[in-house]
């Protein structure tokens, strides 16, 4: 049985997880067979809208009745997730292909990290889930590379992988290793919230929007395997949305992997 919180009914057992992963794996292989066609539809279905965006507009706004959430340690109004007025600001951002290449490097770092972590994942169902998730990340990397107009390097993000490798090396047990994977998945989801604010190409936006939920769901499975609570409110906070867990009130960009801090190979 996977670790659960004391006194709680198990929502997912090791057997159940193994069965689910087996089914997912079947779908994964089936999905791979149609991947090219699926990606072609996603990528080439419609062209760019020519819009410009600002990642910073996402985090400005005016008060809205005191509704707040927590980003990192800071309590922010929910209005901070909304622009102050629709279409008020136009900003030129990094080209879409640069962001796609960065995303590819992040996904490849995730694949490599899961491979390195495999030796420390001793529970069969957990190891199987991790293998499946690594397969998903490989597919994500392929999809982002296809949008990168040749800028994708085909290499894991060097600094991110260095950080992850160090953490995995230092992890004493399966739980510590799972925690790294959990943080990684949350970081990926957060990065794609961030990316949605700087991408302008419709195909890139839609691909990113199709991957963000998957990284989020990876985090749920890993969070459950870790025995975390879905959401634990922050103690002593007056903000009802402050807290931690694998089901936050909102997925924000606060845990993102910053492209400026983690350049793709050859750019550092």
């Amino acid at each position: 049985m996977l670790r659960r919180q004391a006194g709680e009914d198990p929502l997912i057992s090791e057997v159940e997880l193994r069965d689910l992963v087996a089914e997912v794996d079947e779908q994964h292989h089936a999905g791979m067979a149609t991947l090219d066609a699926d990606l072609a539809e996603v990528i080439h279905g419609e062209g760019s809208r020519g819009m410009t965006a600002s990642r910073r507009r996402f985090l400005k706004g005016v008060g809205l009745g005191g509704l707040t959430l927590t980003i990192g340690q800071a309590v922010l109004p929910v209005s901070s997730l909304l622009s102050p007025a629709y279409g008020q600001t136009a900003t030129t951002n990094p080209p879409n292909e640069v962001t796609a290449a960065f995303a590819e490097s992040l996904e490849l770092a995730a694949v490599a990290a899961y491979q390195q972590a495999a030796a420390k994942l001793t529970t069969p169902a957990v190891a199987s889930a991790a293998s499946t998730f690594a397969g998903h990340h490989a597919q994500h990397a392929t999809a982002f590379a296809a949008l990168s107009k040749g800028k994708a390097t085909g290499k894991p993000n060097p600094k991110l992988l260095q950080v992850l490798s160090g953490e995995i090396h230092d992890a004493n047990d399966e739980k510590a290793t799972l925690q790294i994977a959990y943080d990684l998945e949350n970081g990926a989801a957060s990065t794609y919230v961030f990316a949605l604010g700087i991408l302008t190409d419709k195909a890139a936006l839609q691909l990113t929007a199709s991957i963000l939920p998957v990284e989020s769901q990876h985090a749920v499975v890993l969070g459950q395997a870790l025995g975390l609570a879905p959401f634990t409110p922050a103690t002593g906070s007056t903000d009802p949305y402050a807290g931690s867990g694998y089901v936050p009130y909102f997925v924000t960009q606060d845990q993102k992997v910053d492209p400026a801090a983690y350049p793709v190979a050859g750019q550092g």
């Binding site: 008060g63 007025a85 629709y86 749920v220």
Partner: protein
């Protein structure tokens, strides 16, 4: 890892917060100052203009709030019927309803921000679609299956909005909620015998079209 990821932008958040409390003009000026002042990427330029929210955006936000109101109502009816008795699952159901209330407020605010008329009621077309099913729920599994279906529908809807909104910041807004709904789906999935992560790419199948229900 997380600490390192967030550290670089802690100042940016602080600076953003400075103009979150101001008015629109101050916010626009603050944004320009923030971007120009930080200059971390060197490839960002900013201009400002003022345009009204598009009708499509407003319709999408109103549709989103109507979906959240529907979810709040569905969760409430299931809670009132005491159909969910497994303690851990019941706690999740209560949590998810609270989160949908927050999402409803969020989309109402988004609509208001675009000067659109706020819609706070459950989507009438969707209410009609599920009313019979809701009335006939007889077990915890039935209830969770309905909630799972509704969560999937909400996730697909927000994903389908991306790339089709005139205000690009709304892409982030809808997926900040869509990502949370996707987590609801994954958390509920084992309770109804479904896969928590059904594939490498999320689908928009079953998405609710903007304007559904006459909004």
């Amino acid at each position: 890892m997380s600490d390192e990821h967030t550290h670089d932008h802690s100042h940016a958040f602080d600076r953003r917060r400075l103009f979150q409390v101001g008015g629109l003009a101050a916010a626009a000026a603050g944004l320009a100052a923030c971007i120009n002042g930080k200059g971390s990427t060197g490839d960002t330029t900013t201009t400002t203009s003022t345009t009204l929210a598009s009708k499509t955006d407003m319709t999408s936000m109103r549709t989103a709030s109507s979906i959240e109101a529907l979810l709040v109502q569905a969760y409430q009816k299931i809670l009132d019927a005491n159909l969910v008795t497994t303690p851990a699952v019941l706690e999740q159901v209560k949590l998810f309803q609270l989160q949908h209330k927050a999402h409803l407020t969020f989309f109402e605010a988004a609509t208001k921000r675009g000067s659109g008329p706020v819609f706070s009621d459950p989507n009438p077309a969707l209410v009609q679609q599920i009313s019979q099913q809701l009335a006939g729920l007889g077990s915890e599994h039935d209830a969770l299956q309905l909630l799972y279906n509704l969560e999937k529908q909400a996730t697909a809807t927000y994903q389908s909005n991306v790339g089709n909104l005139s205000d690009p910041t709304l892409n982030q807004a809808v997926m900040s909620v869509g990502g949370a709904e996707a987590r609801h789906v994954a958390a509920l999935a084992p309770t109804v015998g479904q896969q928590p992560v059904p594939g490498a790419f999320a689908s928009t199948d079953g998405a609710v079209a903007p304007g559904t229900g006459g909004l």
